[in-house]
Symmetry: C2
Subunit: 408 residues, 2 copies
Amino acid sequence: MVKQIEGGVTAAKGFWAAGVEAGIKYKNRRDMALVYSEAPCRAAGTFTSNVVKAAPVLWDKKIVEESPYVQAVVVNSGIANACTGKQGMDCCEAESRWAGELLGIPAEAVLTASTGVIGMQLPLDKMKEGIKKLAAAKADGLEAGLDAAKAIMTTDTVPKQIAVEMTLGGRIVTLGGMCKGSGMIHPNMCTMLGFLTTDACISKEMLGKALREDVVDSFNMISVDGDTSTNDTLLIMANGLAGNEEIVSEGEDYDVFREALHVVTTYLARKMAGDGEGATALIEARVVGAANKEEARLLAKSVICSSLTKAAVFGHDANFGRILCALGYSGAKFDPEKVDLYFQSESGRIHIFGEGTARDFSEEEATKILSDPEVTILADMHRGDAQAIAWGCDLSYDYVKINADYRS
Amino acid sequence: MVKQIEGGVTAAKGFWAAGVEAGIKYKNRRDMALVYSEAPCRAAGTFTSNVVKAAPVLWDKKIVEESPYVQAVVVNSGIANACTGKQGMDCCEAESRWAGELLGIPAEAVLTASTGVIGMQLPLDKMKEGIKKLAAAKADGLEAGLDAAKAIMTTDTVPKQIAVEMTLGGRIVTLGGMCKGSGMIHPNMCTMLGFLTTDACISKEMLGKALREDVVDSFNMISVDGDTSTNDTLLIMANGLAGNEEIVSEGEDYDVFREALHVVTTYLARKMAGDGEGATALIEARVVGAANKEEARLLAKSVICSSLTKAAVFGHDANFGRILCALGYSGAKFDPEKVDLYFQSESGRIHIFGEGTARDFSEEEATKILSDPEVTILADMHRGDAQAIAWGCDLSYDYVKINADYRS
């Protein structure tokens, strides 16, 4: 039983947060965030597969692998600290050192993350001032969590957070998280910036396993623009304060934890896709009847990555040929004559393609469905039992506008 | 010695063409084309790698493989005859039969090609009338070639054709071609619609080999939107009327023919990229110093496929981080600290990234370069001697506009 509750990263016991204005690049908005745990945490992370890795990605990989525990994450938006050479690494080290001193924890227990423009150096003086403000502002209420979720936004239009409760061995365990999108979104191995906190007691090994197993069907199944960022980072911290018996192997408790994790990551992934740069609609590609899971994922992801399909949804145009085309170049094998395609939304569901040709559907009904804020493209491949879901968004004028002028 | 001359598909000896209005889907514009040779031709073709293959692709593959010779191609724009089931195949058969009867050649010597909306059936009566008009209008002058190049256009803004002359064993040999873009452009194994004609005498085997060797560095290196079409077709017809000694193996003549072919295909590929839907600039990604050819191609193609890079060029914004990011997720391995990046155009050249960080370049100069109609992004990987060039275009409001409303 997994139940959604209010809040985000501060929902679980012992987690504090803050979001402050540090003037890193943006003016008059929160641009630095802190997540802090009263107690030491086991941590796991997945990071970008891009060969070009931002300094904080390299820094965090090392900490997650080598540190016995972590206790805080310092995040900034505006500048990505990517392609910044040695100076960029020195900056991560300084951030962790300053935060460690102020929070009374070792520098090696402080993770860092950055998002924003690639190729610019972070202003050290402003970062230092920002960390001071964060340490002073940190609080354990839901408001502090929301402040943090706002501070990590770049072109996001809304903060993204969620929290859930589960019961493990009679103990209430909480898991919460926040993330930011919304451009350069095509996670591979992991995603953008996502921070999850839980008071579950779980071994580092099982925490890492749960995260790795989950991302392939959550954050790795979304795409806004096909660009895999240099900064993609998903971190989870577990401080054990819920007092449940430690999860050290697969079993009932692990399954419940995995389920809760999936609720949280899927919620955040959908939010991220739906709030993609310039998006007016969330597109869900649901592939059923695939020969195997791998092919189902390939097919679903190919549909939500197709610029032409995305532009057609923006235009509320039932251009199903582009969907078939995207299925066709996905890399998966299938017989086009056997595919059934449907559009569905809260307005209804229509069969648009089958037996190798267009079905006789109502264009009016199709346009109505495609005008809804959440549109599902359902493809039944009739080859087996595997299924997968991927999430993306439509391609609008605003995507171009936002990205033609992002640095200025 | 390869020299550019006037004309397109009718430049080579014995080739005729026509472009007429058949009202297939568009009104008041040419939408059917014919290419015809007085003499039987050896033919070779490369076709889409998409699992979903349009009926004319399946039809032409069979003819290119099985027919002893070909003598004509019938093309229509407006409707792609893809995802049209048995009815679509029957239509190809009818087109070839009608054209064969009117031209006095076997149906098996007639290739067909279509481009336009996927999922609609071609109107048989209009196709039949159109083929009658084509047979009546066919002519061997340059004007007829241009008419054909206009008739195959969809969202293209200009017709695309070229012709060159070479000397093989003392004989003047001519090679010409035409193609159309400009959306759903991400050729794999081949490209959109491209038709090449030559009066060279060359064996079918060597003609196929030349085409296959060429496309990996020409049409397969362009992308407008990452969508590999269901209809991609590149055909070459050689009627031998130049009277050169038949090319039956590698050697000097084959090399000259390959060079001429590359001049023609590269010219058409660049035109196609520069006239991509909504494009305001041609983007050339030139990768040098790669470890091997395969990596060079991956890197160059990744840059021109990046939506964020494309949007930055549209905005004349020197956002080099997005280029490094795209190189990073290309799949090729490299050390970001060793990469040098440059922007260049007819306005000049600037070094923007090196030694792992941004160079101290003038934003004003960068904007000037990025405002030119042809922009080169040069990346030196400093790993070896391999190089590759890929071509794409910027991402503009008009790309979205064109594709949000393409069917109507």
